[in-house]
Amino acid sequence: MPDIFLAPKQNEKRKMRDYANESHVNIFSSFCQNPIGVSFQTQKPHEVIILFLRSHFATNSSWIIFTVILLTLPIIINLLLPLFRIDFFSSPTVVRFTTIYVLFYYLMVSAYAFISFLHWFYNVLIVSSERILDIDYSDIVVHNMAEAKLSHIEDVRYTQSGFIPSFVNYGNLFVQTAGTEENFEVRSIPKPREATDIITELTEKK
């Protein structure tokens, strides 16, 4: 008998989810409509994630290029040393110190790349059937979360300016909420027009 009360919720969940547009979230996903396998800490049992957004992967190009430069720098310096007649490896003490410093340097470069990736990966905007949730990972020791009910959303708009954003199709999304609730701003998300349409459609339903 208790199943009678469970069934409507499942049907409701089924109605909210558009199975034709389902997509799996992989490590590089930045725009997922009806994502599979994603959930968040405060998600209610009947709540469905409609949209999962983060900045376009192209926005990572600056730190990726910088990391590649940093990785190749010791190799270039090693190649240039003989030109200046500097023999770093003449003394065993210097060799030992150089080994440690080079290893330490590569560890720090890898940590820089990892943290930059985390910064991109954990800056997420989630639109569920009930609310909009902004997860910010601004610093290695700072993270914050903001949320607003869909019924409190007053205005959704986007801007797309510049050659690269127009070419790769990404832009900034602004969500204005009513009253004292925080406004949301997500930068460089892919398909901003589609995202705006989806959020507007959801808020109109509420």
Binding site: G37, T93, I100, F104, L107, A111, F114, Y122, H143
Partner: protein
């Protein structure tokens, strides 16, 4: 022989060694902070397969930092 010269070289070496070890130790602590933060973020946002990979990478970072610290103590 100028023993003061050898003493100064020895103390300079020791000073650089200590500074290097402190820097690596700070880095090891920092990697632990990164691991803790990744753990917190994986609790906030559940992405089953990806979260596991990130946890492993951050754990490897700690292991490598500690290994470097031990290696530095041994060879410097």
């Amino acid at each position: 022989m100028d023993f003061n010269f050898f003493n100064s070289i020895f103390s300079a070496n020791l000073l650089i060694k200590i500074i290097t070890l402190i820097a690596i130790l700070f880095y090891a602590i920092f990697t632990f902070v990164v691991f803790t933060q990744v753990k917190v973020m994986t609790q906030i946002l559940h992405l089953p397969h990806i979260n596991g990979i990130l946890k492993i990478i951050s754990l490897m970072n700690i292991i490598l930092a500690i290994s470097l610290f031990v290696f530095a103590i041994v060879i410097l």
